[in-house]
Every structure is written in C-alpha cells, then in structure tokens.
C-alpha cells in the first residue's frame, strides 16, 4: 500500500482513513506493507509493516520505467495544489524543505532519496522520487496487490505495477475537483487520470466521488467501486466542558477554503441572527478564505455573535464539539467528510451538504444543498428551536455513527483483491 502519511503524523483525514482501513484488514488476515515517504519511527506498526521510502536503495529497477519517467519528469509545482495545509503551516513547510532538498536527476545509480513526507512546494519532485523508490520496493518485496491512496502515490503505484506486473488499485479519497473547484491544476488532474486509467480497479470513498471519476475522468463505470469510509471511535473519551456563554452555539469546523463552503455558513448565520438572538456562531479552522470571512462578518455587523477560533488541534477539537449545539458542514464538494461523524459522536446534531459523500451513509442528519442558504438557515433555526428534532438526532445519531465500522470497508476491499488475484 502506498500512502503519504500514517498516524500520528497526519495533516488530514487520509492518514486516519489508511490507519483504520489497514487495521481492519489485518484482522482479516491481510498482510499490509505500508509505504510512506518518510517514517518517524513512532508509527503504530501493530497491524502493518511501515516502510519508509527514504530508507530504500534506489536501483535502476527496470527499463520499462523509462517511458514512465519521461512522462512525469518535467512536472512543475504550483502552490494552489497543496492540500490539507493552511497558509501559516505552508510557509513553515517550505522553509523546512529548502534545507532538506537534494537536487537529483531521477533515474540514476544506487542512492537514497530524502523525503520531507509533507505537502509542500517540492511536492511534485517528491512524488516522482517516491515513484522511483516504489519501483525498487516492488522489485524486492513479495506482494499480491498494489493499493495506492490518492494522487500523490499514483505514480508510485503505476511504477510498482510496471515493475511487478501485479494488479493496481487506486483509492480516491479526493479529486482535484474537490480541492480546486473548476480551476483545476492540470498536472495534478493528469496524474490522477493516468493513475485511474492504469489501475485495474478504482475505489471511490462515496458515490458522489465515483460519479466525478466516471464523468470527469472518463473512467468506465464497471471499474469504479464505492467503498464508504468509516470511523473508529474506540479511543474516544468524553469530557464535560463548562460553557462560558448561555447562548446556543452553531459550529463550522474545518479548513476555511473554497471546498468547505465557509461563505455559505456566514450568510446563513446572518439570516439566523436577524431573528434569533440567543445563538452564537463559531468558525473553527483556518485557510485561504479566512480573512475574507472575517471581513464579511464585520461588514454584516454580526461580529459580536460570530467568532473565529483559528486552527484547532487535538483536545480543542473535541472541546469545540462538546460546546456545540449544531454542527454545520456546508461543503461545496466533499468526497466523504469525517467531521460530521465526530460531531454526532459527541451528541451534536449535524447539518451536512448534499454534495458530500457522508450524506450517503447518514440518515440522522439534515441534508441541504450547499448553495441553499435559506434552507441552511432554516435548518439551523429548526434544530435550535424545536427540541424534539435535536433530541431525535442526539438519540439516534451516536448509534448510527457507531455502526459505521471499518470492517465493512475492509471486507469490500478484500473482495476486490480477491477478484483481481483469482
């Protein structure tokens, strides 16, 4: 399996998903070699063997690779493709990477590459080096199926497939359209498309994403399978937090970027605040749209009831959920979206956009079109005012999320492996 990150060193949902999935697969007697660009040594290796790409000797694995290498060699990085990173962090990464980067020509004699294992300015170079390393791993390790998570690892997956001849599964957790809307980065799109085309099977995290893969990437329907994500709350601990304010709290928690639809949240808040004064809104997270949101809130004159927390981590996230009365995820395009499940786990009723994969698996949630601000405002108000509704969600929601187990996902994926190997 090729991934870009593995707990505890994660920046987004991808690492968590890989962890949950591999753990469940290990329980079902599937042996997983998990390749990450850089290992920190403290990864949970109880169910997978972690291999760090930087520890691998790169050999000129095969001549077959030459053509592949030609294709990806000249890709250049541009800044707007960086996923899961907010601006402040982005700068840090760039600074850190400048020290680490070793300029290399690619396929050459025996040497090791150094990887940052982060998302940053030299991402595409890292992706390419990672692919070359993958070819070496594929030549030395013994395995049956190659499984690549998201576009960063598709070139690696392809390289491994070319070297080993083993079937390739690419797992789409997000597409370029989710990250960038219609203004896609063509390089990334091309890598994604090639990965899907080269794959023997494409796994989508939702029907919503499956549909994008079929219509936007032109992948044949019968090759694309939906396997919904799940959540693992086995280590979840509930804490009680005292509220500082008497009003009800409506929360947005996530990256403040175009994809997450923060602007719709602000507009809906404005509508609700006109009629309901016993409520406060919180936008937790940061991102490239944060400043614009702050300006908008100020302009609407609701800043005394609308609060920004900045980026939240660890227990602060839990705490935010505990304080919330309604959680809103108005994503414009969300392949899956795990955060509403975390909210429900904390007994918070959720409103999610219909343009999210998670809306396919949830019954006890209000679903609205992200652009329908009136419906969003109405739903928020409904949950705040009609206690029968919020109690209904609290009563059934936790049970519902506890039933979304990785075991089901693992079973489906193992099924796909069996089809490909038999």
């Amino acid at each position: 399996m090729f991934g870009w990150e593995f707990p505890p060193h994660i920046t987004g949902g991808l690492g968590t998903a890989c962890f949950g999935l591999t753990r469940s697969m290990a329980k079902r007697q599937v042996e997983v070699i998990f390749v990450v660009p850089k290992a920190f040594g403290d990864e949970d290796q109880s169910s997978v063997r972690i291999v760090a790409a930087e520890d691998i000797d790169v050999v000129e694995a095969s001549k077959k690779l030459e053509e592949f290498w030609k294709n990806i060699k000249y890709l250049e990085i541009s800044s707007n493709i960086v996923p899961y990173v907010d601006p402040e962090e982005f700068k840090k990464i760039v600074n850190a990477n400048q020290v680490e980067i070793l300029e290399e020509n690619g396929n050459s004699s025996k040497k090791k590459f150094r990887f940052s294992g982060k998302y940053g300015v030299n991402l595409i170079q890292e992706v390419n080096r990672y692919a070359v390393t993958a070819a070496s791993i594929a030549a030395t390790e013994n395995f049956d199926v190659i499984h690549a998570h998201d576009w960063l690892t598709y070139p690696a997956g392809i390289a491994a497939k070319i070297v080993s001849g083993k079937p390739l599964v690419v797992h789409v957790h997000a597409t370029e359209f989710d990250r960038s809307g219609e203004n896609i980065n063509q390089n990334v799109y091309d890598i994604e498309k090639r990965g899907m085309e080269m794959a023997d099977r494409v796994i989508a995290v939702s029907n919503y994403t499956r549909n994008i893969i079929i219509t936007r990437y032109g992948i044949p329907e019968n090759k694309v399978v939906t396997v919904h994500n799940a959540v693992d709350f086995s280590n979840h601990v509930d804490h009680e937090y005292d509220r500082g304010v008497s009003e009800k709290i409506v929360t947005f928690l996530g990256r403040v970027t175009f994809q997450k639809g923060p602007d719709y949240f602000v507009e809906a808040a404005n509508k609700v605040l006109k009629y309901n004064h016993n409520v406060r809104f919180v936008m937790a997270g940061s991102g490239d749209m944060l400043n614009r949101m702050i300006r908008r809130v100020a302009k609407l004159g609701i800043a005394n009831k609308f609060h920004f927390t900045g980026f939240l981590q660890g227990t602060d996230v839990n705490r935010m959920f505990m304080l919330s009365d309604v959680y809103v995820m108005p994503s414009v395009s969300e392949p899956f979206g795990i955060s509403p499940l975390e909210a429900m786990r904390s007994n918070v009723p959720v409103i999610i956009s219909k343009q999210s994969g998670v809306s396919e698996v949830l019954k006890y949630a209000i679903k609205v079109d992200f652009w329908d601000v009136d419906a969003l405002a109405d739903s928020i108000n409904g949950l705040l005012n009609y206690s029968a509704l919020s109690n209904f969600f609290i009563k059934h929601g936790q049970e519902e999320v506890n039933h979304l187990k990785w075991g089901n996902a693992a079973r489906k994926i193992i099924n796909i492996y069996n089809q490909l190997t038999n």
Partner: protein, 510 residues
C-alpha cells in the same frame, strides 16, 4: 346472497409551501397553491373524472344492482370547489343515482379521534354539513381517517349517532376470526363494524400491476373465483381502497379501468354476490361477535397501526403542540384561523414525518413532497409557530374587545339606571304638583300634560348629551390605556438598549 361492499376513499391534503422561519410572524399563507392545484388537476384528469364516469356508466347499465360508497374528506371537497368544479359535478351526478352512499368522516382527514373528542365531533359534523350542502345527502355511516379504530373511538362514534362504522380487518385483532362478517363495538354493541378484507382489497389496490406478484395479471375471472371460494358461511366481502387506485396508483395502462368495467357483470353472472352500500350491508347482516380493539388500528403499512403518523419524537411533538391549541382556537371566531386550523390537522402532515424508511419506505416516498422527515418537521413547526402566534394575538384582541364591550355596556346600564331614577323622581314631583293643581282646577290638568312632555324631552336630550360626554371621556381614557400598553411594550426595548450600551463601552475601551 352474500354481499360485496365497495368503499372508496377520496382525499387530498392542503400541502404546505416551503415556509421558512423568517416567514414566522410575517406571512400567513401556508399552503402551496401551485402544488395543490396542479396535483388536484392531475389526479382529476387521471382518476376522478374517468373513474366517476365509469362508475356512472356501470350504475346506468345495471340500475340499482350496482352500488358503491365514497368517503370524501372536507379538504378534498374544498379543493374540488377551488380547482375542480367539474369533479364536483360528476360526484353530484353519482349522488343523484341513489346508488351511492356518502360516508361521514372528519373534515380535514385528521387524527383528532386520538386526541380531542370535542374537536373530533365538530369536524365530523362539519364534514356532514358539507356533504349535505353539496350533494343534499345525509350521511349515516362513519369512516375514520385511515380506518383508524379502537373500542373507544367506536363508542365515541356511536355517541355521535352513527349505527355503522368501517375499519381494517387487521390480522392481529382478528386472529382466527374472519373479516367477512359484521362485528359490533365492544363498548356499545349498537355500533356495527364492517371490516376491510385486506387480501382482496389490496389485490386490486396495491398488487394489480405488480408483475412480480405470482397472481399477475389479475383478471375478473380469477377475482370472482376467489370471491366464490370464501368460506360458505361467510357473508360479506368489504373492498375498501383509495379511489386514486384507479388511474393514479394503478395507471390506466395497467388495465385497471377495464377490470372494474368488467367486474360487475362477472359477479352477477358467476357468483352469489350482490352489491350493497355499507349502510345496507349493516342492516342486512347481523353482527356475529363483539370486536375487541383496546389500542388503535389503521389500514396502513404492514403493522396496521398508527406508526405512520404518530410514535416517533418528531410526530408526537408536532401532534401535541398542534392540539395544545385546540381550546384556544375554539374560542376564536375568525374564518381564516378556523380554516388553517382544520387544514393543519390533516394526517398527511404527520405522515411526512415518518422515519421508518425500511419496510414501507417506497409507499411513503410516493406520497411525500419532502426530501426528508426533518425537512418536513422544520417546515411544519415553522408554520405551527406562526399559527400559534396568530391564535395568541387574536385571543388577546378578542379579550380586549370583549372587555371594552362589557365595560361599555355596564357603564351605559349604570347611566340608564341613574337617569331612570331621576326621571321617576321628577315624575313623582310632577304628579304630586299635578294632583295639587288638578284639585284646584281640572281644566289645567290638560294644559299640564303638555309641559310634562316639554320637560321630559329636554331631559332626554340631556341624557344623550351626557352620554356623549361620557363617551368622549372614555375615548380620552382609551388612548391613555393604549399609551400605557405602548410604554409597556417599549420598556423591554429600553432595557435591551441599556444592555447594549455597556457592550458598546467595552468595545470603545478595547
């Protein structure tokens, strides 16, 4: 001769428009005029008009041998008047044949029988009145919303003077008993019960076009053969179904109209059955036993219970809040509020809140204009919030008005009393002086009468003037009252203003 008894349910709800919380207190038009009109027109063209024509043809062909019955909700009748007078005319023609029985039900196809006896009775009377107005027909048989029935509801219906009631032949109630007999209410045995034969009814209503059904296609031969093969002792087969079965649930293309057109002839020629209306059937057959139904049943879903309308938290909350207004609405005399009150009680609104998607989800979705029960709940509660505000305001208005009227009349009465006393006193004075003068010269007595009148007239004037004065005094008082109330209303505003000001200060200090 055995009896076959057809009853068709005709109902359309007034569907709500998308009513947002920011409409509360501002807009009071709750209903989706466009949807209600277009759905009524669609169903009229596909079902009501062609089916009514078919039934009329059959009645004309077989004379009084072919009989049917309808239960038409008040909301459906209102919609006919608004959007489909042609349908109303076709029902009138059917009524004129004398072969059709119209059943009584609650005006708004409501669940009031489960909650409020007074409201229930009022609605039944209102629907009966409407039927009488439109079809000049006195309904004698009762059918409750969705065939909902329990011992208590039956007793309530008997109290209203009905002799016969229709309900579901629910398996869990009947046990080994058959629905093909007449039964009686457990509390008041005078009320006869006709039970739906759900097997044969649903063969037509639900399974007719289902190609996965082993008996598909359903022919009149097959159906009448089934009728002939019921237990020889059994007396009656009740075929109860939605009228929209014809042409709407089962499209014309399925052959449902042809089936119905051919059925009477097949029954007359190949079976020992006659068509009777519910009232006739109940008269002909004696009840074989009391039916014990402690908790309510209905004709819906696999469970034949109330869970399609009530039971989950959303439904119960909306239902209880709605009926918490019943007493208040009763005191109000406002046609708009009365109408909305009726239309908001329609059971369909609670059906949309149902969350049991799995077993009967398909049927539910078919009848549901909302994407989810949550959406339906928020919408309904928004409307209900506005409605209860209106009820509250209207009550306040009325009580103020009543108080005013009462105080005015008592004051006037006081005044009148006071002046009457004065008049009497004066009259006594006059008579006493008159007797004095009369004793001196009888001629003057005639003269004296005139001045008496003269005196009386100005006094009357005086009273009226003083009344006017009093009125103006009152008018002066009224604005005072009004002022007092406005100052009351203003008070919270000033409070919030003072609340706000410290915030402003803190901002400044920042």
């Amino acid at each position: 001769m055995k009896t076959i008894c057809f009853y068709f349910q005709v109902h359309q709800p007034f569907r709500l428009r998308r009513y947002r919380f920011f409409d509360i207190g501002k807009h009071h038009d709750y209903f989706d005029e466009f949807a209600n009109r277009s759905i009524m027109r669609k169903v009229a063209e596909k079902c009501y008009l062609p089916t009514n024509k078919l039934m009329l043809d059959l009645i004309n062909e077989y004379g009084s041998r072919f009989k049917i019955s309808y239960s038409i909700s008040g909301t459906a009748l209102d919609q006919f008047e608004l959007y489909a007078p042609d349908v109303l005319d076709s029902f009138r023609k059917l009524a004129d044949t004398g072969c059709v029985e119209f059943l009584a039900e609650t005006y708004s196809h409501s669940l009031s029988s489960l909650k409020n006896k007074d409201e229930f009775s009022r609605q039944v009377r209102a629907q009966q009145k409407k039927i009488k107005e439109l079809f000049n027909y006195e309904s004698k048989t009762f059918r409750n919303t969705e065939l909902i029935y329990s011992d208590e509801i039956g007793a309530m219906v008997a109290d209203l003077g009905f002799k016969t009631m229709l309900t579901e032949g629910a398996k869990h109630i009947l046990g080994w008993k058959s629905s093909n007999f007449v039964y009686a209410n457990d509390i008041n045995p005078k009320l006869k019960l006709l039970l739906k034969n759900f097997q044969l009814s649903d063969d037509i209503a639900f399974r007719f076009s289902n190609r996965d059904w082993s008996e598909w296609p359903l022919t009149t031969e097959k159906f009448v053969w089934w009728l002939d093969n019921i237990d020889p002792n059994e007396e009656i087969v009740n075929l109860f179904m939605d009228y929209e079965t014809f042409g709407e649930h089962q499209w014309a293309e399925t052959g449902i109209f042809d089936f119905m057109r051919a059925l009477p002839d097949r029954i007359f020629s190949n079976s020992n059955f006659e068509f009777l209306t519910p009232a006739e059937a109940a008269k002909k057959h004696q009840p074989v036993a009391l039916l014990h139904v402690p908790s309510p049943i209905s004709w819906a879903d696999e469970e034949r219970d109330l869970t399609a309308w009530l039971g989950n938290e959303l439904q119960d909350s909306a239902f209880n809040q709605l009926y918490s207004l019943a007493d208040k609405v009763e005191q109000i005399d406002d046609p708009d509020i009365k109408r909305d009150w009726l239309y908001l009680q329609t059971s369909d609104h609670f059906y949309y809140l149902c969350t049991k998607w799995f077993s009967d989800g398909d049927v539910h979705k078919y009848f549901n204009p909302y994407d989810s029960p949550y959406e339906a709940f928020i919408n309904y509660m928004n409307v209900l919030s506005d409605f209860s505000l209106r009820v509250k305001n209207k009550l306040m208005e009325q009580s103020l008005f009543n108080e005013k009227e009462e105080s005015e009349t008592t004051e006037i009465k006081k005044l009148i009393g006071a002046y009457q006393k004065k008049i009497e006193e004066l009259q006594q004075q006059i008579t006493s002086t008159a007797t004095k003068t009369a004793s001196t010269s009888p001629k003057n007595a005639v003269k004296n009468e005139a001045p008496k009148k003269d005196i009386a007239v100005p006094k009357k004037k005086e009273t009226t003037i003083s009344k006017k004065k009093k009125d103006t005094v009152k008018k002066v008082e009224e604005p005072k009252k009004a002022k007092a109330s406005t100052t009351k209303a203003k008070k919270p505003v000033t409070q919030t203003a003072t609340k706000k000001s410290p915030k402003g200060n803190t901002k400044k200090s920042k």
